[in-house]
Symmetry: C2
């Protein structure tokens, strides 16, 4: 990595740190580009050079937090694919809950922006992840083999994204959010579950 690239990364980091600090300490209303540049010790132009827009600064915070990169959180210790899906939901919840208001604020900042592309990126990632789980569950004979894997996976992913969206809007906290996701996932899976996974789902349902 060249000197230039190093300096860039440092500036990126300074800006992200400043943004996070402002949001935490003074609230997102105070996060203006001028103030951000000021606190980060760079010029107003620099965040635009390095991120593109205010929304993309916020998106970078989310990415760093790994909220969108849930792969890393997935538990390996479950034998059922369905079980792993729920574990990853639990891990996500536990992770976000430590700093609920912050994540919620940042998530909303990204999702409520008019930059459609960024939103769509988030959607696609999580839906592909869901579809992967469903495909695995079918291969595993945890759910009926006659259902359309991609379609059902998409539905599961959309439930996740939808309810996350409502969490972002501040209507409820991460605990209640996870409960609604869990409940709707259980219900959906139960409509296609085989004997192998039914018991697990019933347990999961009773939370």
């Amino acid at each position: 990595m060249s000197q230039r690239e190093i300096a860039k990364q440092e500036n990126r980091q300074k800006i992200k740190d400043a943004a996070a600090n402002i949001i935490r300490r003074e609230g997102i209303e105070k996060l203006t580009m001028r103030y951000l540049a000021d606190i980060a010790g760079v010029s107003l132009r620099t965040p635009y050079n390095l991120f593109g827009s205010k929304t993309e600064v916020l998106f970078a915070l989310l990415e760093d937090a790994g909220v969108l990169l849930t792969q890393g959180l997935i538990s390996q210790s479950e034998d059922l694919a369905v079980g792993r899906l729920f574990s990853s939901l639990n891990a996500m919840e536990a992770h976000v809950r430590k700093d609920d208001e912050f994540y919620q604020t940042v998530y909303w900042g990204v999702m409520a922006s008019d930059q459609v592309e960024i939103r769509r990126t988030g959607y696609e990632r999580l839906i592909e992840l869901s579809q992967g789980f469903v495909a695995e569950a079918i291969a595993n004979k945890e759910i009926n083999s006659d259902i359309n894997s991609d379609e059902f996976g998409k539905h599961i992913g959309i439930l996740l994204m939808s309810i996350l969206g409502m969490w972002g809007s501040g209507y409820f906290g991460s605990k209640e959010c996870a409960a609604h996701i869990r409940r709707s996932w259980c219900a959906s899976f139960l409509t296609v579950a085989t004997r192998k996974s039914k018991q697990h789902l019933m347990n999961e349902m009773s939370h």
Copy 2:
């Protein structure tokens, strides 16, 4: 109604008409307050006097369209409460589908705003509506009497609002939106359905 009040209502209508026309003909990006005032033939101040903010102008469009006042759409011809719930979803879909892009745009304009109160108003209304249906379904013995009516009703309402939110974000159209709502509702109701409603729900599920 006094002259003054009449003039006010006329101005409100002129502004709403102008807003709808701009959105339809030129897209919501062109809907600036200055241009809106211009097209409506009023001063820049007037929309603020009569509505309060840009978001509230959009909200008024939604209200006029009855998207939030779904009560009027509810079919009376079903004997099951659960059946009526799904009918009202169908009616809503049919209504919105006639002008999908327009409603979607306006809905998003309202929901993505930072005016939390307005969002919450929309949420509360639909959730109360859902809770009413669920209470009725319990009274009707269509679903198990040992479940918590308010809690389950809220869950149903949240599924609706969440998925509507994703529709608003432009991820899918009203047809797919309704399909996801229907599917998730069926799955949820099936977990608590009695013999009386199970068959209906299975039919509904197969779309």
